[in-house]
Amino acid sequence: MILRNLKFALNSAWQSFWRNLAVSLAAVVSITLILVLAGVNLLVGHAFSQVLDGFRQKVSEISINVSDDTPLQTVYDFKQQLEGDPRVTSVRFITKDEALAQFKSDPQNVVLAQQIEGNPLDAKLEVHVANLGDVAAIDTLARRWSGVDPTDPTNYQGDFVNRMLELSSWLSLAGVGLLLILLVVSVVIVMNTIRTAVYHRRKEIEVMKLVGATEWFVRGPFVIEGVMTGLIAAAIALGLLVVAYPPAVDRFKADIGFIPLSYDPAFISSLAFDLLLAGAMLGALGSYIGVRRFVRI
């Protein structure tokens, strides 16, 4: 019986979608636009989080400069101490020679490297900290170590890290806020579309109720119609975003090169899932609310 009712609801929803094609298309277009905006929001959010992740990666690595007169054993002891710290994921010792080689290998330093005589660079301990919030504590630990270069102890920039963390949380909050506004708008659109469909079919609903249809039997086709509308809109929005995403990233890179934005094809499947789920849920919710008053027996 459930299958028969489902078949009836699917048929009914499909017929209603086509019978009220103008209204259905208007809803599809409106929801598509909203989902495109939501998708752009997600893509921009993802791109920035990628950029921020890159920065985080960098700032969660602290470089401790070792004073030239520090005995090697002291360095190894401190390295071992750091490796035993649960907040630290890895420690790498870079000798003075390796530090110089690294410096010279950077194309930005070509001119400067030619003018260097001897090796003015310190040996370093490159410490990777698991949690960005713990970098400050490791920095303090390093500064207290006897082998640290007192003139230039570490490369830790607390202010920058704090600002970046703050920016990151503001961006996330703004993204969530925008998404919420878009969700409310699309629910209202679906609700009104379904109300129009319900108005067209009010006589059918009245007859359904009089012959003993349950509320869910009456409501089912409208909810399915809403889900259909949402899914079609989500598919179109996804198509538009997939087509527009790579050229948009290229354009952005060309215009604002210092922000290392990149195209991430792996994110498309996650975006597809989010948009289709959002489309279906919005359609269902909008229909459920839109039809509620009319189907109440």
Partner: protein
């Protein structure tokens, strides 16, 4: 075979001191006490605005009484939970003056609609719909749309839809109101046949000729109260007076 209602048996429909006042303040029904035994054929008569339609709406639980109780088949309608209401309505066949057919469905689909809503399987739908359409003598018109049928034929479709799920009660609100006298009479024959099969029929009507000819139970409502309840009555209590009025 005609089924004779047993007036001594427990009534299947029972109104106990029922009052209905609408939110606007209109007092539609006052202290209605009415018992309908199984298999009864009851005419509700009275002038427009007397309260007949309100009584019908209470019976199909489109409205709840303001005061008093209504029992149908032992269940009190006023206390019935909303989720149980569809199952109650499945026991009832409803026929209205304006037919309430779905214009975009054929005769067959309109009748089948009542069974689809119940989730009946296709084979059952086919046989029951064919039987109902045959009962109302519309065989051959299964694929016709309501717009291409006469008023009488449309009302027959509505009756077929009302009886296709074999309801125990048929409630009709002015079913002959839009029909010419000959067609109205044909429709009444259908109701009599349905009643003869055992269904209890409650019919609100203005059709004096039919009520007077059939001589069934007549409950007259006036100004929201039961003015008369005759087991074998006429439209007007004073037949001679009614003849004068008719002239």
């Amino acid at each position: 075979m005609l089924l004779t209602p047993d007036f001594e048996a427990r009534p299947v429909i029972n109104f106990q001191h029922v009052h209905k006042t609408y939110p606007t303040g209109t007092e539609a029904l006052r202290d209605i006490n009415l018992e309908v035994p199984e298999g009864d054929f009851l005419f509700l008569v009275g002038p427009s605005g007397a309260g007949k339609s309100t009584l019908v709406r209470l019976l199909i639980r489109e409205e709840k009484p303001t005061k008093g109780k209504i029992f149908v088949d032992g269940v009190e309608l006023g206390r019935m939970k909303r989720r149980k209401l569809p199952f109650y309505r499945r026991k009832v066949g409803l026929v209205f003056q304006d037919f309430k057919l779905l214009p975009n469905l054929t005769v067959y689909e309109n009748v089948a609609f009542a069974l689809r809503v119940l989730g009946e399987p296709d084979h059952k739908v086919q046989s029951r719909v064919a039987e109902a359409i045959d009962t109302v003598s519309l065989s051959g018109k299964e694929h016709t749309y309501p717009a291409n049928l006469s008023g009488g034929e449309q009302q027959r479709v509505a009756i077929a839809r009302a009886l296709v799920h074999a309801p125990r009660f048929i409630i009709a609100d002015e079913p002959t109101g839009n029909l010419d006298p000959a067609t109205a009479w044909e429709i009444m024959q259908l109701f009599l046949r349905i009643n003869a099969r055992g269904a209890t029929v409650v019919m609100a009507t203005h059709n004096r000729e039919i009520v007077d000819l059939l001589r069934r139970r007549v409950v007259a409502i006036d100004a929201g109260q039961i003015a008369r309840d005759d087991r074998s009555g006429r439209y007007h209590d004073d037949f001679a007076q009614s003849q004068v009025r008719a002239k």
